[in-house]
Amino acid sequence: MAAVNFDKVVKSFGAFTAVHGLDLAIDEGEFVSLLGPSGCGKTTTLRMLAGLEFPTSGEISIGDRVVNDLAPGERDIAMVFQSYALYPHMTVAQNIAYPLKKRGVPKSERGAMVQKTAELLQLTELLSRKPRQLSGGQQQRVALGRALVRDPKVFLLDEPLSNLDAKLRGYMRVELVELHRRLGRTMVYVTHDQLEAMTMSDRIAVMEGGRLQQFAPPTEVYRAPANRFVAGFIGTPAMNLIDGEIRQSGGTWQFHAPGLTLDCPPLLDSARPGPACLGIRPEGVVFGSGPIEGVVQVVEQTGHENIVVARIGADMRLTGRVGAERVWQAGETVRCGIDIDRAHIFAAGAAGERLNRPGLRPVEAPAVIKAAR
């Protein structure tokens, strides 16, 4: 059993609280990403799991063991750092062998284990080199090798791909998923890159301001964001978020914003009339026909599709994802509409929770999310 459990974990640095009462239950063998913007507490969470920071309160357990008071080396984990943290004065072979040496593996066995890991990661040629003689991608593989050499219970990865170029990053993503499948170990992956989180994870824990916003499989995070923050954070281009209010007349709910009135998607029973926010992904925006009139401002051509930004009224913008066959020109007047079955309604405020019922209509698979960079 190597499930990971956070129970009401709080971490404060002086007056600043980095993590507020985190509850997170990661299943054995699961690949979980901690996703969020800088300073959201994801790295602190990972470092607490590694034993490099100690929680102010709450309990962290790995498997059946509460690890709060265990030193990093006693937790049976391995970690890959964003900076790789290779020991510069040691050769690649020594780097990979270090965790074995520290755990008292006899020297005679170490060589074979290092060799095996090196073969797995195609590092055999590089074993006698020093880290500074390696390229970024090679250093990354050595860091991975140091983690893999000793079959730990849980792998912790702290933005391991962020220093690689885009092509190599794409390659390593596939490698990591493959590795996870083969090893079947629990992996906790910290990233600010939603593409990595979406493509690799079994589940994503979206964090913001030291709080867990949503913990769900990638498709659910995308299709049924738990609140306005998750809605705005996940997806490129970002979801259109329109501030307005919801009103109830008779049995039907309507969303009102300046120049815009729409029937709401089915709402939760807890919904009350008042300020609210309508969220619609660019693929839910229809260009070419519809009740709303706008002016095309920017057209981004990606080849297989176009991203069109239109100005509606005085200060509202609507981003749509449209086919590449029709070329829109900036300044052109356009009619657009919103596919209300794909719309979300959120309570007012930066982290207002979702007010519409999720999953009433099967939504086609999310369109390809474009890399953030």
Binding site: L52, P88, Y98, P99, Q139, L156
Partner: protein
């Protein structure tokens, strides 16, 4: 072109100005006594002799002083490096109240002129029964080499990524293990700079040695040589020059060895992150 020539001339002028006294020291030490005060002076000695060196070693307590200086400087260097390495580690890695002010307070002691401290230090060493020993000088030199050493190593220590240590901890090392396996090798250039600084400082120090030590058996080179060769009536120039040459030699050797290590060390540190 002209500017380059002018610059080169200027640079060589400075080199000559610095090197000439050293050259004169060397030349004087190998001139026979009768040639020393001849007018006009000879540039290169007409007769080369090592008689001053032989006299120095056979007839004077020079070797005792030399041994004292070696013991003194080595001991001071070891103590200072050991304390400042651990101190710098604490100042950089551990978080506790007053850490920054402590560091500044330490630097502040370095700003005090050493003359101010000499009397209190002397009284303290006397009451501890340490006066007139080499050990008293080790303590005295440590007090004023340590602040600078601490600051020097602190900046070196701050340049070592914390991730390296974290990685060692996760890999199963204890804190001390991580310090020895990962931090120390990274810190080597800093440790060498610090050791060099401390060694030179204690090798050349004069004032404290003069005040704190009065017995011939414990005198270091600086005061020993002055005491033995410079009196109110006479200065033994030839012996003084020979002694000076022999005093400089260890430093030059140490420097020559470590200098290459220093430059090599500076480049070796970082893996880009």
């Amino acid at each position: 072109m002209i500017r380059r020539v002018a610059f080169n001339l200027f640079a060589w002028g400075i080199v000559l100005a610095v090197a000439f006294p050293l050259f004169w020291m060397l030349v004087t030490s190998v001139k026979p006594q009768f040639e020393l005060f001849r007018r006009p002076p000879t540039f290169l000695p007409e007769t080369w002799t090592l008689e001053h060196y032989i006299r120095l070693i056979q007839d004077t307590p020079f070797l005792t002083y030399f041994k004292n200086s070696i013991i003194l400087s080595t001991a001071t260097t070891l103590v200072v490096v050991a304390i400042s390495t651990l101190g710098a580690y604490s100042l950089v890695r551990f978080k506790y109240r007053g850490r920054e002010s402590l560091a500044f307070l330490v630097l502040f002691t370095y700003l005090l002129p050493s003359v101010v401290l000499i009397i209190p230090l002397y009284l303290m060493l006397v009451s501890m029964g340490l006066s007139n020993t080499i050990f008293s000088l080790v303590i005295a030199y440590t007090t004023f080499a340590l602040p600078y050493a601490l600051w020097l190593l602190r900046s070196f220590m701050a340049g070592i990524p914390e991730d390296l240590e974290s990685a060692a901890l996760v890999d199963g090392a204890s804190r001390m293990g991580a310090f020895v396996d990962v931090i120390l090798p990274q810190l080597l250039p800093g440790i060498i700079s610090t050791a060099l600084f401390t060694f030179i400082l204690s090798w050349n120090e004069y004032l404290y040695a003069l005040v704190l030590v009065n017995s011939d058996s414990a005198r270091p080179l600086t005061t020993g040589v002055m005491n033995m060769l410079v009196s109110s009536f006479n200065i033994e120039w030839s012996l003084l020059m020979a002694a000076s040459v022999m005093m400089s030699v260890p430093l030059i050797i140490v420097f020559a060895f470590l200098q290459s290590y220093l430059t090599r060390g500076f480049g070796a540190g970082g893996v880009k992150g």
